[in-house]
């Protein structure tokens, strides 16, 4: 494999930014955001340079690696600090740095009134660096560093306004739930080392050819656990909605475009494991299917624009996971959906940010309405993203989602029908709730509060939105020309085999999908465009709505199953430590004291009883003699 010495700059540049900004403190308030943006952009530049280098090489030599130093080397456990840039990672590098840079630019304006803007940019740079490490690491352990690094950045950014206790709690929740997923990654690495003797991607891939199915299944399931944590998949999805506490650019970058898709990256990167472990793969698709429905259902009930988008993100990642779980047929489509989703979802989040910016930080869609007139650019960019996500051709989402639905149908047998049906139903619901967002925000009647004076955002904000909108229009078309992305990725994820027997022709699938979308859109338009929308969410709604509003009881479930018992266990242990463990120790002390106090009573002060004691001693001795001389 080709080696390179410049990969490290991809990571080093944003990391440098974060370090400088954090160490310099308030001194860098004036120029910090500019430096951070510049460094992010230059990292994007390096990415582009790498891409051009890569394109100049023949297909089989496109992967580039760089070994920095031996990181951990103990016995046979040898992990280098090494980077690997191949066709898969370059997609991510460009997505991360590209979208990241746009969001940097957006944030310059968005955060201009925040006194801690510099810190925000430091965190953003930290995130970019960590995320790049995640996708560039050449082993699971290196990936793990980035994996937790993005978790940390996510934690810091969600809790950026941690003076609000709820936000601080949200950040903690995100971190802890991510850690549960991380645990899965730890397990996967441990199992890999114990069974395969290596944790590098190349090593594991090589070993996976000969390894037993059981070992690979175990690794695969653990990787899936990791993915569910980071990508907010069922059952570790609960943190994502709360993560919207962070500033909106964060939601766009981390909780829509990049970090949450890390799970998909992990699964695709580990394709060799999942391909050899059908059980694990099956679990992947099940998780994906459940999540896509879960997110979609939650999305229908949310009035908070960001939470609605978050639910949508969850659902869309469900699509990706579903795709990734379909094996070589789906990896590329999963990645494609990931990339297109990166564009349109980031664009929509930025749009939402723009709306909030104009609406005095109001997030409740029931208080929006008719913003189209006041924020035309936002409306257009958001609208393009909307068309992309619901899958209207020729927007990007159509190509990518359609491909996944089609592949799902083609998975074969009942499985195929179930998965395809789910994906199709999901598409309909997506169309419904996204239309609901669109309608409530931009087209329906004004339902503003008195102090809201909607206005268009400045150029620094709308420009990134516009660029992303262009992306969400064009990427799908571009990626599918001549199976461009599929072919590009095939050296990494394996050849995409066209299935011989198709359950449904592609055209039929597309038709069904479009029909589903149309139904969804129609219902939403009827329900929200025509009817008046109350400014306060009605309470006399069906039990299903209520459950959906409560995120399908996910928090209640976690609370009842994990938190409460955990708290009970904690307080039990605290009391137990005090009374039982320490109590035992003190008990020994007390016993000694008690023994001392009672033995002390033999010391009566009477000489005669002392004499009796001596006499008894003597008797004991001669009694002993009496016994031994029997």
């Amino acid at each position: 494999m080709t080696t390179s010495t410049s990969l490290v700059y991809l990571i080093a540049l944003p990391l440098l930014g974060a370090t400088i900004l954090l160490l310099a403190g308030r001194r860098s308030d004036k120029w910090g955001h500019l430096l951070a943006t510049a460094l992010s952009a230059s990292s994007f530049g390096v990415g582009l340079y790498q891409l051009s280098q890569m394109l100049n090489r023949p297909t089989e030599e496109r992967g580039v690696s760089q070994k920095l130093f031996s990181w951990i080397s103990v016995g046979s456990f040898n992990v280098d600090a090494g980077l690997l840039l191949d066709q898969l990672s370059i997609c991510f590098v460009l997505l991360i740095t590209g979208v990241g840079t746009l969001i940097h630019i957006y944030s310059i304006s968005y955060m201009s009134h925040d006194e801690n803007r510099r810190r925000f940019f430091a965190y953003l740079n930290l995130f970019i660096a960590a995320m790049l490490l995640l996708v560039l690491g050449d082993s699971y352990l290196n990936l793990y560093v980035g994996w937790e690094g993005v978790g940390l950045a996510s934690y810091l950014l969600i809790g950026f306004w941690n003076q609000k206790p709820a936000y601080a709690t949200a950040s903690k929740k995100a971190f802890v739930m991510n850690r549960v997923g991380d645990m899965g990654l730890s397990f996967a690495i441990m199992i890999a080392f114990a069974t395969l003797g290596t944790v590098s991607f190349s090593g594991v891939e090589e070993a996976s050819h000969t390894a037993s199915k059981a070992a690979l299944t175990a690794i695969g399931i653990m990787l899936l656990v990791a993915a569910t944590g980071k990508s907010a998949q069922f059952p570790l999805q609960a943190w994502l909605g709360d993560a919207m506490a962070g500033p909106t650019p964060v939601s766009a970058l981390i909780h829509a475009a990049t970090m949450v898709t890390a799970g998909v990256y992990l699964i695709v990167r580990s394709n060799f494991i999942f391909d050899a472990a059908p059980t694990a793969q099956l679990l992947v698709v099940i998780v994906g299917a459940i999540t896509l429905m879960f997110g979609a259902l939650v999305g229908t009930a949310k009035d908070d624009i960001k939470k609605a988008l978050a639910a949508s993100t969850m659902s869309q990642i469900g699509y990706m996971v579903l795709g990734a779980g379909l094996g070589p047929a789906g990896y590329a489509f999963a990645i494609m959906h990931l990339l297109t989703h990166g564009f349109f979802k980031a664009g929509m989040f930025l749009g939402a940010g723009s709306v909030m910016h104009g609406m005095n930080d109001q997030v409740d869609m029931r208080r929006y309405g008719a913003l189209r007139k006041f924020m035309p650019i936002t409306f257009i960019t958001f609208g393009l993203g909307y068309l992309a996500i619901i899958g209207v051709p020729p927007f990007a989402g159509f190509y990518s989602k359609d491909a996944i639905i089609e592949t799902a149908f083609n998975a074969g047998g009942v499985k195929g029908i179930l998965l395809g049906g789910t994906a199709l139903l999901g598409a309909a619901i997506t169309a419904f709730y996204m239309t609901r967002v669109m309608v409530l925000t931009f087209t329906s009647k004004e339902r503003w509060e008195d102090n809201q004076h909607p206005h268009e955002s400045p150029i620094l904000m709308w420009l990134p939105m516009a660029i992303l909108a262009i992306g969400s229009v064009t990427t799908g078309f571009l990626f599918t020309r001549g199976h461009a992305l599929v072919n590009w990725l095939s050296p990494v994820v394996g050849e995409h085999a066209e299935s011989e027997e198709m359950l449904l022709q592609p055209m039929v699938v597309s038709g069904l999908a479009l029909l589903a979308v149309a139904i969804g859109v129609a219902i939403a338009v009827m329900k929200y465009q025509r009817a008046d929308v109350e400014t306060v969410a009605p309470q006399n709604v069906s039990i299903f709505t209520r459950i959906a509003r409560k995120d399908l009881m996910q928090d209640s479930f976690n609370e009842a199953v994990f938190m409460r018992p955990g708290q009970a266990l904690t307080s039990l242990l605290v009391k137990g430590d005090e009374n039982v463990v320490d109590g035992a120790v003190r008990g020994i002390g007390r016993t000694a004291l008690g023994a001392g106090a009672s033995l002390r009573k033999t010391q009566t002060g009477f000489a005669r009883s002392y004499a009796a004691l001596i006499l008894i001693g003597a008797i004991a001795l001669i009694a002993g003699i009496w016994v031994v001389t029997q």
Binding site: T604, I616, A623, I625, T629
Partner: protein
């Protein structure tokens, strides 16, 4: 080869039970003096046993030194601390009496049973040979040759005993004894001339002549200093007013 002649056996069976009974009696009698006398009897019995067992010297010493001197010392001290004082034999320390009885039976029983079990693996030899030159001479020989060092050292023990008794009993004079002259001067320089001729005896001029009744002075008042200081300290002094003469004819009639 030791054979025990019948006379000795008779003596033993007569005296030994007596000794044991006396010893037990020593524990059971209330008065310490009686205990002392019973102990003296046991010691005398032992002296007889010694003599019977060819330990003439020890038998004599037992009587002269032990029974004669040591026991007398005990009696002396008993007199000193109150010869009448009798012990109450009720046990005041809870649980001690049963322990003592058990101990007595256990210790004695075990000891007797063990002696019964003991064998020496050699015949009793008798002291005929050892005493061939006379018991006293043989003892002296041992004492002044083999055991000369402990013998010497015992002298230190005796000095210690004497020194100890002195430390505890000797009243060092805190002020030098007053000479007769000084005493006389003090007597006459004193507050009253009443004591010039010496203190009155108790009971003098009183209607009662017991030692604990103060004397009456010629003017009819009581003289507390006529009572021994010991009695005063004990509080054994009787109020003398009851013995005062109610009518004292103070008029001096001149006898012509």
């Amino acid at each position: 080869m030791l054979t025990i002649q019948t006379p000795e056996a008779v003596m033993f069976w007569f005296l030994a039970p007596l000794a044991v009974i006396s010893a037990i009696g020593m524990l059971l009698v209330k008065k310490a003096v009686h205990s002392a006398l019973l102990l003296a009897w046991v010691m005398i019995t032992l002296a007889i046993f010694y003599i019977a067992q060819d330990a003439l010297f020890l038998g004599i010493v037992q009587i002269v030194v032990y029974t004669g001197a040591v026991m007398m010392l005990f009696l002396f001290i008993l007199m000193l601390v109150g010869v009448d004082a009798s012990d109450s034999l009720t046990e005041t320390i809870r649980g001690l009496r049963p322990i003592a009885i058990t101990a007595a039976l256990g210790f004695g029983g075990l000891l007797v049973s063990l002696i019964g079990r003991a064998t020496l693996g050699r015949e009793a030899a008798g002291l005929v040979d050892a005493n061939s030159e006379g018991n006293v001479q043989a003892l002296a020989k041992l004492l002044f040759s083999t055991y000369v060092w402990p013998f010497e050292v015992v002298s230190a023990l005796l000095i210690t005993a004497a020194l100890g008794a002195m430390v505890l009993a000797h009243h060092q004079r805190s002020v030098p004894r007053a000479t007769q002259r000084e005493q006389a001067i003090a007597r006459f320089r004193g507050a009253s001339l009443g004591s010039a001729a010496g203190l009155p005896n108790p009971g003098v001029f009183a209607r009662h002549n017991a030692v604990d009744v103060p004397a009456l002075l010629p003017d009819g008042s009581a003289a507390p200093n006529s009572i021994s200081a010991t009695l005063k300290a004990r509080g054994d002094m009787l109020e003398s007013t009851q013995f005062e003469l109610s009518e004292v004819d103070n008029t001096v009639t001149e006898e012509k």
